[in-house]
Symmetry: C2
Subunit: 317 residues, 2 copies
């Protein structure tokens, strides 16, 4: 159960974890706008990984049991065209986490065919950075990678990709206090949440963040007639001051295709990290995933676009 | 002439502006590594725009006379495989600037067929934000959009796109103090610079920044055997603290194609700015170009990627 959720919270338990978005799924709970809902600890791998798991076990991962979401919550009065305003209030962390390279998954899947797995110890107050061996220390700022409402289109939709209705957006700034607005597609909105992360860089390039089993409590409010096409959010203050004090190492990719530019920017950073610190390519790839940010520097000087990969120097200190 | 360039600076004048990268172009100057070079004020439109120009004149812009660069500078001892380390030391601004929507150019060219032109007054010390009418105030942080070395491939190459050798990268964090490293492709490096900007958002979405005629002084150093594939850079400190104090309004685009996701994120912000402030779509598009940042939030949850457009709330205060 999430701590500090405030009075009046109601709890969603593991029996209401599900593996597809489906607007025909019966609600786990019905609430009035303004309600606080607590979600019991959510495990993105549904018990397939423990602290004793070895990397080779990732080869047998059952992708049918990955990225469950908890819910859905029916919000009274929500109608298509409204926005569901979601504010994260608190996390209930478990103290350990993992980052993995899973074969066939991730931006550079073709470069990294072998499985790798790193375990982290995480301060449950998120105050101390998490150690990446003796190579780096990564500040923590938790969020949920998956947060969404049921899509308009009928039938089951995998929880792996995000949609216009939200879902597995993996936006690292959706932290406590950020207000996010999801486009309601069906009556009642049918909100679900999952994929708790302790930290992540923009892009989540290796496919996993600092993944942890966490509970979460959220406040659900309703804004009428927003008519959003995609989710939007508002951050109450700066988003990178926990990372930026020492500046950044930055690599670029320049290409007529944004995806190719993105891959080259990340390959450049993996190479740079190897030269700077001696870490292996798979370690550098995982470090980028948990704290390096992908920015589109230029997308107008045709025919070549520039994507930059920003690694905060602080983590290497 | 750029101010404060330090003793020993030598100056490149307008007769050494050129409109293509070409490794056969004779050097305008030859220097030893460690030299400081000053560049007279560079005008990205070569006199085609003055403070009296009206937007309709953009329809007749001669693209053969756009984005000149000044140089090239032959750096003694530079060889393919080395990196040219370039540090901007000072700018010599002219006090006014412009941002334009040029038909046929820009991320959303299909949405904005008409020309628009905005003139800015810019504090020559870059301390005060520049007013965007009474709608916004944009903090300034100057840089050069174009900075590069001659490409390995023979013949003339337009200065509009960037290449692996650098050029029109439009990376808004290449400010004073940032160390950038360019992959030397031919003996002597043949460095040139242009496209002075007072400020820009990541992406430069409408195709123009806060564009201004400015002089610049740079220090050119050599790092042997870097063997870079693309330019990289190191920032000495935070890159967004002049913008982030009030947090961000953020919109997203979610799509199987990164370019489509990018366009939708920007369209969302244009819509959001209209609702928040009443500004027109063309005004919002220009404001995004000069201060909103494009980030790739997620590029692994196949088949849909998330691009986010971050507008600093500070500019609307």
């Amino acid at each position: 159960m999430a701590k500090n959720a405030g009075a009046g919270g109601r709890t969603i338990h593991a029996e209401h974890h599900h593996l597809s978005w489906d607007n025909a799924r019966p609600p786990a709970m019905t609430v009035a706008p303004g309600a606080v809902v607590e979600f019991d600890r959510i495990d993105a791998l549904m018990g397939q990984l423990t602290r004793e798991t070895e990397a080779e076990a990732l080869l047998n991962l059952d992708f049918e049991r990955v990225n469950p979401v908890a819910g859905p919550i029916h919000v009274d009065g929500a109608e298509p065209g409204d926005a569901l305003k979601v504010t994260l209030l608190a996390f209930d962390p478990c103290g350990w986490a993992w980052t993995a390279i899973i074969p066939g998954f991730g931006l550079l899947a073709e470069d990294f065919p072998a499985p790798h797995l790193h375990f982290w110890s995480c301060d449950t107050a998120f105050k101390e950075p998490a150690a990446f061996g003796d190579m780096a220390r990564v500040p923590l700022k938790p969020f949920c990678g998956t947060i969404g409402v049921a899509p308009r289109a009928p039938g089951p939709h995998s929880t792996i990709p995000p949609y216009a209705s939200g879902g597995n957006m993996d936006i690292r700034d959706l932290n406590i206090g950020t207000e996010r607005y999801l486009p309601v597609q069906v009556p009642g909105a049918l909100f679900s949440i999952g994929d708790p992360h302790c930290a992540q860089g923009d892009g989540e390039v290796c496919g996993t963040a600092i993944e942890s089993i966490m509970g979460v409590s959220v406040k659900l409010e309703l804004v009428k007639d927003e008519n959003l096409k995609f989710p939007r959010f508002v951050t109450p203050g700066p988003v990178t001051r926990h990372l930026d004090a020492k500046g950044y190492e930055v690599t670029t990719g320049i290409h007529p295709d944004l995806m190719d530019a993105t891959k080259d920017a990340v390959r450049g950073m993996i190479d740079r990290l190897g030269r700077l610190t001696g870490m292996s390519a798979d370690q550098a790839y995982m470090l980028c995933s948990v704290c390096a940010d992908l920015r589109i520097s230029e997308v107008v000087d045709q025919p070549n676009w520039v994507v930059s990969c920003y690694l905060p120097r602080l983590v290497l200190d």
